[in-house]
Assembly symmetry: C3
Homo-oligomer: 265 residues x 3
């Protein structure tokens, strides 16, 4: 894979401090032609799983050759390894704590390298801010053309992340909410493909006390204020309320159970 | 108009999800040289009018050839059309729900095109995220040099947006607050020109129970904590409190009535 | 110093209005090749000292030739001067109200110029938004290659900012919290060098009722939920709680006193 100069950034650093800007300064010092794109910096502090899901949701939409820099790193300074995941389509750079695993799986074939080349880091390397001293420099070196095999030794595997998986039975799919977005849409882990056996749009979606009796084609297909089920932009079943927040109106959030059955079942 | 590679983005997507980053990835895949500038992503969800005002407030400050991509789109997936507004100075891309209308009017002469060329979209086109699948791709194609007449058929008009207009009488101007900014400044719809008949800085501004008895030249011209009236950066009358929030201290917000009269009237 | 095309932006404008985007539009109109990097726009309104500390924390991490544009400007339209600070490594552009002083000191040798050349401004120059009309244009002209001595006359000095300084005694260092970051980490004004006389990691840090009895090498060196002291990414002593917020758990904030003594003292 040839890098294309794009580096995306996803962190739990927020935007009120200058930490993200500092990482960008370091990256531009190494790769002046880098084009820096924020995915988000509002991952809740140390929420590795949420960060991992957001990263996975985005990587497919960037052109081949993009470097994705992700830092949600409660273990900074401890034993977790700094790594790069090198795929055909993209590189991921960050801590080996599960953060990169779902996006890596979405890349298809990939190799993992431990970041072990001191000369690629910013010195002195702190024990508290590897985003600045390790990950941003390495991402920038990759974007500038350093070949991935110069990063360090290959690792057999990266740290997995246990994500809740949907359970598919005859006539029913059991999943759960894995993400709540800004609009209060409840994103589930039930992929569109898992609904193939239903006679769409005829199906029933139950979440808590709420029953939704068909699959809508868009948010606008329901009446304002009405809960609806839709295949959302994540490619999975999503429960939404038109012109409202499903999270608030259904009082549901991450880990809420969602069951899909045939209509009338 | 020749595009200059700049694409601005204004949405109600917020910045805690990866939706904005995803739109940027799609745009960079089509126009690798695009320079992406955020206007804001914190338009309140589905607040078309606020988004429209913010967009209008910004377009004049970008160089000729800029493409402005705006998505506040409660009707995504329903009947509203995707459009581009093509002016001498700039192009606007977004849903035809009024969002683009005030900025279009500020552009001077323009033509409207319905986005109807499937090959310019990202496929499959979802029913829930036209920002990613329709608007970002079209904005990027424009920025990359696709001529506007290749976008689709011309429309006679775009969807208007009913904005509150000031009422100008002999000796009095009646307007209202249309925007409250981060500082709590109360931006009105009374343009500087509407005050030409007063003997400036002598005039009286009434908002709620508060009476302000002259036009200040700057925020700093008043005592800290004191309400003042000023021609603000929007080019309209603004009510502010020095080193404080007029919105909080005067308990006023959007739609609050503001009346300007001759001093002592 | 030759500029490198990078312009960073630090303001108290927030991101929900379009003010920052407008400044970027103005800058790109003057310097189309500018690369714009946000430091932060969430400095609390008119908090000059916090803005100054954040700016100082970032400048060292950008490559030589960067222009740093900073606007926290309660005195806009009044007597404070618009200035540029020109160092070997970087230029700073903003109001002369103390905002630039700590970063200037961190630059080493520098000269100060008053921004006095009307033809470098955007016209008409408002009294309310010098970020758009004065500072962004001048920063862009600098980034585009305008030599600093063309900006205006040299000033003997810039407005100082009184920052709390640590007091170093035999066997004790007295400092205070100067910044609380997103994670609730309490950043003090005690530089790493001030701890050189202790037998590290053996020292005692007292903040309020809390006593910490050694210097940790990283956040991860403590048990979750436990307060720790560490040399943080600002290069100073920092009090943190692993996987938690020290600000919340110790109920401490800006100006909280911090005393370091020999262990057991």
């Amino acid at each position: 894979m040839r890098t294309n100069g794009i580096i995306t950034l996803l962190t739990d650093f927020g935007t009120r401090d200058a930490y993200v800007g500092i990482m960008k300064g370091v990256a531009l010092g190494i790769c002046p032609a880098a084009r820096l794109v924020d995915l988000t910096h509002e991952v809740p502090p140390q929420a590795v799983q949420l960060g991992a899901l957001l990263l996975r949701s985005a990587v497919a939409y960037f052109p081949t050759g993009t470097v994705h820099l992700a830092v949600v790193d409660p273990g900074v300074g401890a034993r977790r390894q700094p790594i790069a995941v090198v795929g055909e389509h993209a590189c991921l750079v960050g801590p080996d704590n599960g953060l990169l695993a779902p996006a890596a799986a979405a890349l298809g074939a990939y190799r993992v390298r431990r970041l072990a080349r001191d000369e690629l880091f910013r010195h002195p390397v702190s024990h508290t801010f590897h985003g600045r001293d390790v990950f941003a420099p390495v991402a920038a070196h990759l974007a500038a053309g350093t070949p991935p095999d110069a990063l360090g030794p290959e690792l057999a595997a990266l740290q997995a992340l246990a994500l809740p998986e949907p359970r598919i039975e005859a006539g029913a799919v059991h999943g759960e909410v894995i993400y709540v977005d800004r609009f209060g849409n409840l994103v589930t882990n039930i992929p569109a493909a898992a609904l193939a056996s239903f006679r769409l749009p005829h199906l029933s979606v139950r979440i808590g006390e709420t029953m939704i009796s068909s699959l809508a084609s868009s948010y606008a297909a329901a009446q304002p204020g009405t809960p609806l089920a839709v295949i959302g932009s994540w490619g999975t079943l999503e429960v939404a309320v038109r012109d409202g927040s499903a999270a608030e109106e259904l009082r549901a959030g991450i880990a809420a159970r969602v069951t899909v059955t045939a209509n009338g079942a």
